[in-house]
């Protein structure tokens, strides 16, 4: 599982880096995103869903959010 830590970064960087990281992993692979800027929580969630990726887990603890997302498989 690849991990992307964007703690300390604000919009739009977490979304931008999530986009790039998703482009770099293979279909079906899982990316874990760690962020702490509250607006980015909703933005990253929205980005992942709008691109058809699957959110497997989203947990928040002590102001830090961890999102696990599976890259979508291209329709064949």
């Amino acid at each position: 599982m690849k991990r992307l830590d964007v703690r300390g970064e604000v919009c739009p960087m977490p979304v931008l880096k999530t986009k790039k990281a998703m482009e770099e992993i293979s279909e079906g692979e899982i990316l874990e995103i760690i962020l702490d800027y509250p607006p980015s929580r909703e933005n990253v969630r929205r980005f992942l869903l709008s691109q058809g990726h699957e959110i497997i887990e989203m947990v928040e603890e002590g102001g830090v959010t961890r999102i696990k997302a599976r890259k979508r498989k291209e329709a064949s």
Partner: protein
């Protein structure tokens, strides 16, 4: 800063009380107004921020149009301005020259004289102006004053904050950037002049608190409600797309959480709610105009080449905003 933090800071401070201060900061109006003599008052405002577009000439124009707008929103006429500049040592000075050239272009268009300025070294570029204007004390247009039966008219589309976020993410196309830059650099001057000629009950310019945030200021503590029809609200279509893919600025979420308790949504989806709270740069004027004057206002704006959209109406109420989506039943 967000409206919540701003409120906390001002609370408890010994704010000035002076009988000549006609509009102070307590109502968060667009600009301060100070009475000079019976038929003349001074309008003062200041605004500056970091680049929202990469092109320095456009940035200068947009920041200047934005600073002047607060005077226009009060129904005033800006007359002089001072530049405010923060600029990093390592950046080429030609960039700053272009920013200032942009500002001067807009000042000339507005008939405003630049009388000076101040610059400091700073790691991040910032530009804006302090603007001084005049207004007849009887003709000040305030945020509050909307009456039941008034119609709400907006003069620019919204969504520039979301598009600025997309620009920062390098996801906006050149033609989109150009389109929003032109709108943001458009002066609210003509719209303001028409507004003063026709006479409206209230006005504000739409900036950092977003359309709904500024509407909340217009109704807070009053006996009216604003009814907003979201399908009538002009929105840059790119903003809707960018909001859907998560390019909403933090300010939109802050505006929403601060004001949500004053707003009722009927059939409005999450993305559109964010757009309605999106912080704007150099947004349009939002006016509450008596229904019988609506056609002359719209005609006047059209004659002067100004856009205008009727986005809602004012009814008796308790200081709330009601936003209706497509096909939502009226309560």
């Amino acid at each position: 800063m967000g409206p919540e933090d701003l409120g906390k800071i001002l609370e408890g401070l010994p704010l000035p009380k002076n009988e000549r201060l006609l509009v102070g900061i307590e109502k968060l109006d667009d600009a301060g107004v100070y009475l000079l003599r019976e038929d003349l008052a001074l309008v003062q405002t200041v605004d500056f921020f970091t680049p929202i577009v990469d092109d320095p000439f456009w940035f200068g124009q947009i920041s200047c149009a934005n600073a002047l707008s607060d005077v226009y929103a009060m129904g005033g006429e800006p007359i002089t301005a001072l530049n405010i500049v923060c600029f990093p040592r390592e950046l080429d000075l030609s960039v700053l020259k272009e920013i200032l050239r942009g500002g001067l272009k807009k000042l000339e268009e507005a008939g405003v004289v630049l009388v000076g300025g101040h610059s400091v070294e700073d790691p991040e570029v910032k530009y804006g102006l302090s603007v001084t204007g005049i207004v007849h004390p009887q003709k000040i247009v305030r945020n509050q004053g909307a009456r039941p039966g008034d119609v709400l008219v907006l003069t620019k589309p919204i969504g520039t904050g979301i598009i600025s976020t997309a620009i920062k993410a390098q996801m906006a196309e050149e033609r989109t950037i150009l389109k929003v830059s032109e709108v943001m650099a458009t002066l609210n001057r003509e719209a303001s002049q028409v507004m003063v000629e026709i006479g409206v009950n209230a006005c504000t310019d739409i900036t950092g608190f977003g359309l709904l945030g500024h509407m909340c200021e217009m109704v807070e503590g009053t006996q009216v409600d604003f009814y907003v029809y979201s399908s009538q609200v002009p929105v840059f279509e790119e903003a809707l797309y960018f909001a859907k893919i998560g390019l909403v600025p933090g300010g939109a979420y802050r505006n929403k959480s601060f004001r949500s308790h004053m707003v009722d949504f009927y059939g409005v989806d999450e993305v559109m709610r964010d757009v309605l709270f999106d912080p704007q740069t150099s947004g349009g004027l939002l006016m509450a105009v008596p229904r019988e004057k609506l056609s002359s206002l719209l005609e006047g704006l059209k004659k002067r080449g100004q856009s205008a959209w009727v986005i809602g109406e004012v009814k008796e109420g308790s200081g709330r905003i009601k936003v209706f989506g497509d096909g939502a039943p009226l309560p």
